[in-house]
Symmetry: C2
Subunit: 345 residues, 2 copies
């Protein structure tokens, strides 16, 4: 949907400030608890927590993460879910969200209401109240920024640090071709992340947002390398589909398309892989789990490097340095790469 | 400073993604703790907390809250401080911040480094680590959104709800003329807010961001009115200065300029005002405290309405409905009103 209109009565400019706030509350419905636990005070008061607190923030931007071909409900849903995926990546439980929306006055009421319904649906589905936020005027465009507060589910938070040479590398689900549908339809791996954080033999974890080939480096300690076996990479049907159009191998799509929102983690060398995999299958019988390789020392990697995936071939997208004008990019349908405009700082 | 450049080596486009992340870490220095308590993982792990959690979010936007006449350091400082003021308004203590930055590739490295230094300085001054964030590309402009996590300082959180007819209305500091300097130079009232939350006779509180005349309504319960006495309003020197230029009464500036970032609160009818005021003077000898009026029942207000400030005369700025083009507005120096582009949702 094209988000803007020059017909004033169809734009948020016609609502006035208090009218807009009332409308937002109505669109959110029960997703926003009563003040002070929801919208309406200087801060939101968070639910009582028992675990360690977690905080993450990610935006969706018109012309970067979505465009006119995307339903506003999908854009709102994605904003919520990409943040949920970050909480999942630590093994945490999401507790509350705040959203800061900046948009020009020409935004359609209809667009905004659908966007908020996309937020509200996910707020209900994942039981994460939208407790507050801010709306501000922007000279042109739309930027929606969601911050998610969460907490550790059990005793342990799984970070990106902890893998050692000899540890196995695993990934959930299948990879690649996300732009076809998965980057809108994915389910953040919250249950799986929480379960993995409870398995002591799991050493480190993250979610796959920029593609396995790029993201895996974040789990690899100094003087080590990720030794990935091409045949073990779980290539998605959508990656096969993308391959037919692009002419590139499906493996290339699986490794570098990004926006998979799957979990990538390492299992301690000392652990029994078969016992771990069997417990996984009991807990999550319907979600594929794949061992994709191993962390090895740099010297060991050099000796047998021809056995492993050459990750230099599949370098991820370099954010913020692309030569094409972002405005020009925004006029075509968003691709997975376009949607990767963000980078954790 | 004009934030953009077409000379590539001076723009963030020349840094590349990993170069930019390294630069951000360098600019933040000790303001960002080591991962997982700082930048570098899927979420930031928050410091251990003992109180009730608080969450607030506010942006600064190029062309709305700042423009080319403003130093990037001031813009970064304001982003941090306007969020701190929201924590102060609940009597809370700020604990950690995350910042989501969206900007076009033409942003100058120099501009961004100064903006981050503005954030880092306030992070150190207020002992609030910058624990994470996100950088993303925007078709045009700059939007910086900061989310602040805090916790209750003592047992009590002061919300906007709780005032009753008969309660006195107080405000800290002086009001009006903020656009001259105060909206950049203000100090968030964190100590004062925390102290006020410990005084049981204080019933409700907020910060003054849109002007007393508009904000006071948020503290007034149903079937009651704010009875403000004109002579009691603490008019700032900057309001007097603004009055000489605008030709409007200084009182009008004090009531409606906004961006005062002072605390507005109500004291229970049953409390001893003189004892409370004396304790205030002991705790904060240098910060003016003014009783500005009383919450009264609607019927009592009608009977003596000519004694009180007619707040309809001083209605605040209607956000998001202004008829002038926001782009046109951005070309002149920002005024307090322009800076009020945001509204708590």
């Amino acid at each position: 949907m094209y988000p803007f209109t020059d017909i004033k009565k169809e734009s948020i400019a016609s609502l006035g400030e208090s009218g807009l706030i009332r409308a937002l509350r109505r669109w959110l419905g029960k997703s926003s608890p009563r003040t002070p636990f929801g919208i309406g005070d200087d801060c939101a008061v968070l639910p009582t927590q028992t675990g360690r607190g977690l905080l993450t923030v990610d935006p969706v931007i018109y012309g970067e993460h979505f465009d006119d071909t995307v339903s506003p409900r999908s854009a709102g849903a994605k904003l919520f879910k990409r943040n949920l995926s970050d909480i999942a990546a630590m093994g945490g439980t999401p507790r509350a969200a705040v959203v800061a929306l900046a948009f020009e006055r020409r935004v359609k009421i209809e667009w905004l209401s659908e966007f908020y319904r996309g937020l509200a649906e996910n707020s209900r589905n994942y039981n994460v109240p939208l407790v507050g936020g801010d709306v501000a005027q922007l000279p042109t465009g739309i930027v929606a920024t969601l911050t998610l507060f969460g907490e550790s589910t059990g005793r342990r938070i799984l970070t990106r640090v902890g893998a050692k040479p000899g540890d196995a590398i695993y990934v959930t689900g299948t990879l690649g071709g996300s732009r076809r549908r998965h980057h809108w339809s994915f389910s953040p791996r919250l249950h799986e992340g929480a379960w993995l954080a409870q398995q002591n033999e799991v050493r480190s974890m993250m979610d796959v947002s920029d593609g396995l080939a790029k993201d895996i480096h974040a789990l690899v300690p100094a003087k080590a390398c990720p030794a990935l076996i091409a045949e073990w990479i779980p290539v998605s049907r959508d990656a096969l589909h993308a391959s037919r159009t692009s002419g590139r191998p499906a493996l290339a799509h699986a490794l570098s398309d990004g926006e998979d929102y799957e979990l990538l983690f390492t299992l301690a060398k000392s652990a029994s892989a078969s016992s771990f995999e069997s417990r996984w299958r009991q807990a999550f019988p319907r979600l594929k789990l794949s061992k994709v390789g191993q962390i090895v020392s740099s010297s060991a990697f050099q000796k047998e490097s021809n056995r492993f995936v050459d990750l230099n071939t599949y370098r991820g997208f370099e954010h913020l340095v692309e030569s094409k004008s972002p405005v020009a990019r925004s006029r075509s349908a968003p691709t997975a790469k376009k949607s990767q405009a963000g980078k954790k700082a």
